[in-house]
Amino acid sequence: MEHIELFFKSIFIDNMVFATFLGMCSYLAVSKKVSTAVGLGAAVIFVLAITVPLNWLLDQYILQEGALKWLGAEYADYDLSFLSFIMFIATIATMVQLVEIIVEKFSPSLYNSLGIFLPLIAVNCAILGGSLFMQSREIASLGLALNYGVSSGIGWFLAIVAIAAIREKIRYSNVPPALRGLGITFIITGLMAIGFMSFGGMLTGGDEEVKDKVETVKVEDVLDDETIDELKEIANNTKKTLE
């Protein structure tokens, strides 16, 4: 359940492009044709699926406060979280380079379709943003981190393919000259973002209802009168002994 919730939440509600504006630069620059958009989108999913879990491990076992405990008790006090930016970006840059080399060696056809996008991706905000959000949202397990990486990648993929499709069609429309190209893309993205906001009620609405109920539960509803009296007695006794 947790996995399904995170999956849909990262694709639709916290969509990287529409909710947090991550990876906007490549989103705007590479969305003129659907085929290239699909290539870049796939590469983003791929790289996020690798780097988010990897950075999760780094965060859990090296960077967090007290994460170095596994080295021995004397390391338990270290807090290296200020290093996370540099560690994350170094991991991402190395992984992208590594993936590029491996893909080139073992799957030339995949390399031909993804390869040209990989160097672009090392500096894509969506990739670093994925790791930073993973850290700040305190994703609980490695499985969830992998899920988060893949699903936010899919969200980004959806967004760039959708805008590329719209841009292919809008070429035939009569847009005011000054708005052509970049301007209209911004405004369409804004409208799409408003559309995606309607997904917001999908999960959070239900959550809030449950929370409200939990908050209003009273002691009297859960425990019967006898147990309450007993507890009061115990509390009074401890008070007396303390005095």
């Binding site: 090392a122 700040s136 190209g181 911004f186």
Partner: protein, 214 residues
Amino acid sequence: MGLLSKKDANLILDPLADNNPITIQVLGICSALAITAELEASIVMSVSVLFVLGVGNVVISLLRNIIPSKIRIIVQLIVVATLVIIVDLVLKAFAYELSKTLSVFVGLIITNCIIMGRFEAFALGNGPWRSFLDGIGNAVGYAAILIIVGFFRELLGSGTLLGIPILGDPIEKTGLYSIGYENNGFMLLSPMALIVVGIIIWVQRSRNKALIED
């Protein structure tokens, strides 16, 4: 302009309008949009980028003859990441609340395309002083858009500027609110940032026909 030759002055002035990093070069959009709901956050973000881009450009320009071109991306990333860590720690120490609002977007200055773009396009091929001017110019161009967007979103969205009420008190119905004006809460939501930038681009291109695409 005794200090700056005409060519140097253009390095600063060009990115302000006709070669603006956001509206013309389309770089660094991510952070420009996400944090502009309040003017204060926009200003702090602009100052952070100004610092990182100015110093980073100088550092890269000084190193430009030593860096092997194959690993230059990683070297650039390390330089930016170090500068961003400095900014992040300073913000956490002196403006903790604000650094909470900016959350991950301070970290995302690292992958802000303006910075990598200027390193690649300018600092790798020019001396430190010119690179510094170029960095400052581009950061100011970026700041200009951020501040315009932040200004309109905060003014129309919450009726305040830098947290100070400008249009009166919405609860006690003073000022503009007494004649029935309402805040447009929609301006505070993220999609409006895109639309505001879209409108800025529209205005800029209608004034300067040379910038119109196809």
